[in-house]
């Protein structure tokens, strides 16, 4: 069997060896985090760390509530920003992309360029400009954490744009909408019952990657002095590194599961259509 192999595919052994080694190296830091979070600060007679669930219990202890108050507040703020940013992707970016696809195909390149620009301009550079812009924003809306959604919405653009654009390229929305229109549907039902369902995969992945990016955003929040999940983690790390690491692991695992679930939903939907 293996003698007849041609083309690019690796042998089973090669695949196993490469994925095994890289996988092992990549899992070590995660294991180290879990081990770190289990340390109770004592060593046995051989100098080996004693492990226990002490720090996990600390989090739920009512007596420590004040210690982790800021973290939970930051997490709450991040979730509010998440919701607003997702809303901006769905109500601002998505309609614009569909409109450009249907009515202004010549603007497609311009839109793509605009959405990719935030990759070219690092957040740390944007921050230099956001500081004066936000002194105006603060006068208009106050300096609540949710106002960060405006800035983070920009950071999210390239990530949110790509999955929807890929999906748009594979579906002929012009034909679909004309078919819908000629069968008597209004623009509203063409949009909600024809176009959006066809873009479901792209929209879902762009929403989930948006959530991940927002929860992981640190640079802008830190310079605009807002308390979000990441800035609170950094602060907590100085007073209680164990609990900070616990939350970091949970966040990483949460993001991983989020993306796995979305990958599965997407592929189930696809295989159903092409059995």
């Amino acid at each position: 069997m293996s003698a007849a192999r041609y083309g690019a595919e690796p042998s089973r052994t090669a695949r196993g060896v490469i994925l095994g080694i890289v996988g092992l190296v990549f899992v070590v830091p995660i294991i180290a985090m879990v081990q770190f979070s289990l340390r109770i600060g004592q060593t046995d007679s051989h100098g080996v760390q004693k492990l226990g669930f002490q720090h996990y219990l600390d989090i739920v202890q009512p007596a420590n509530e004040a210690d982790y108050d800021q973290l939970f507040q930051g997490l709450g703020n991040s979730l509010v920003i998440c919701a607003l940013t997702v809303a901006m992707v769905l109500l601002l970016l998505l309609p614009t992309m569909i409109l450009v696809e249907l009515r202004f195909p010549s603007l497609r390149r311009v839109l793509e360029f605009v959405c990719i620009v935030p990759i070219t301009i690092p957040s740390i550079v944007l921050v230099v400009g956001f500081v004066p812009v936000y002194s105006v924003v603060a006068q208009l809306f106050g300096s609540s954490p949710w106002t960060l959604a405006f800035a983070i919405g920009i950071i999210v653009l390239p990530y949110a744009y790509r999955p929807i654009a890929t999906n748009l390229a594979s579906v002929d929305v012009v034909i679909l909408s004309e078919a819908g229109r000629s069968l008597g549907a209004g623009w509203g039902s063409v949009l909600t019952r024809v176009i959006v369902p066809n873009l479901r995969r792209g929209i879902l992945s762009s929403v989930f990657i948006t959530i991940a990016v927002v929860l992981g955003e640190f640079t802008i929040a830190s310079f605009l002095s807002q308390n979000t999940f990441q800035t609170a983690l950094i602060l907590l790390q100085q007073t209680d590194p164990y609990v900070a690491v616990i939350f970091a692991v949970v966040a990483l695992v949460f993001a991983f599961i989020l993306l796995v679930v979305i990958g599965r939903i997407g592929s189930v939907g696809r295989s159903r259509r092409t059995p």
């Binding site: 830091p29 301009i121 640079t219 990441q230």
Partner: protein, 302 residues
């Protein structure tokens, strides 16, 4: 750009529209919310960031601030940034390409690929501060790996001071998020290799080696180097991991932080703006190169 759009668009919009002119202006209105948002929160900050480098303390235009680029600590920061970015881009690209190779022939919607893709997205786009924690727990002074290396091999990676908190130490966490980014960006190119090309090579008597050296590698080269450039840009612009590990300056993003949070060290005003300008120039050059390579790569991805 705008006029080109209005003259070429009617062909698609006239069709069946009763009152084209009114309809058209309404449709144009549909683009304004997004356009206004992007101008206010991307255009203005970007221009302000770069332009502030050309203003003196009293707000008058000047070129004197550019003298900051001649400051030895600033130059050192740029060199260190280039160094870390180059090393991690090459390491990330080579390891990431190997992973892509290993994933060829697996079902794209299978469990393995879903897991790898998700893990790659998490580490490449979500990590930041949390990856810094991970490496403190791994190779920090009391890290799992450093303690194990000392007890087993009597090898202390932190012998000359904490390695992780130095600029060369950044190479390790940076590579950790570069490899996943490589997997995400290079996999589509790898999957663009058509099975028919392999079959053609085999029919013509080619070996797997000649397939790789004469067919696959030349086809993949633009995509590979494009990904290297993208990885370089990614490391060059990333801030969170470094900020969580290093308190002082050392690389350009950290110098910007120093300039924004403390008074000037260099002796001219608005050094943050000058540094921002420097970063943008580098990034624009990198991304132009990337899109050039990407265009060559796209020829084979149909």
């Amino acid at each position: 750009m705008m006029t080109a759009a209005t003259t070429s668009a009617p062909a698609t919009t006239m069709r069946g529209a009763g009152a084209p002119s009114r309809r058209r202006s309404l449709v144009w209105l549909g683009l304004t919310p997004f356009a206004a948002y992007v101008v206010l929160f991307l255009g203005v900050p970007a221009v302000v960031a770069v332009a502030s480098g050309f203003l003196d303390a009293s707000g008058k235009p000047t070129l004197r601030n550019l003298a900051a680029l001649a400051d030895p600590t600033i130059q050192q920061a740029f060199l260190a940034s280039f160094g870390v970015s180059a090393v991690t881009a090459v390491l990330g690209a080579v390891i990431g390409a190997l992973v892509c190779f290993a994933l060829l022939g697996t079902r794209p919607d299978g469990m393995l690929r879903t897991a790898v893709d998700s893990a790659a997205s998490v580490l490449a786009q979500f990590g930041g501060v949390m990856l810094a924690f991970a490496f403190i727990a791994t190779i920090g002074a009391q890290g799992l790996l450093s303690v194990w290396l000392v007890s087993t091999f009597h090898l202390d990676i932190n012998a000359d001071g904490p390695f992780l908190y130095s600029v060369p130490g950044l190479v390790i966490p940076y590579t950790y998020f570069q490899v996943p980014l490589m997997v995400l960006t290079f996999m589509p190119a790898m999957e663009g290799l058509k099975p028919t090309w392999g079959e053609a090579t085999a029919t013509l008597g080619g070996t797997r080696l000649s397939y790789w050296t004469r067919i696959a590698m030349p086809i993949l080269a633009p995509a590979f180097f494009g990904s290297v450039v993208l990885l370089f840009a990614n490391a060059f612009s990333s801030y969170a991991t470094a900020a969580a590990l290093i308190d002082q300056g050392g690389i350009v993003p950290l110098s910007i932080k120093q300039q924004l949070t403390s008074e000037t060290v260099v002796g001219v005003s608005n050094v943050a703006g000058v540094l921002a300008l420097g970063m943008v120039v580098v990034m624009v050059a990198l991304m132009s190169l990337y899109s050039l390579l990407q265009r060559r790569a796209a020829r084979w991805q149909r």
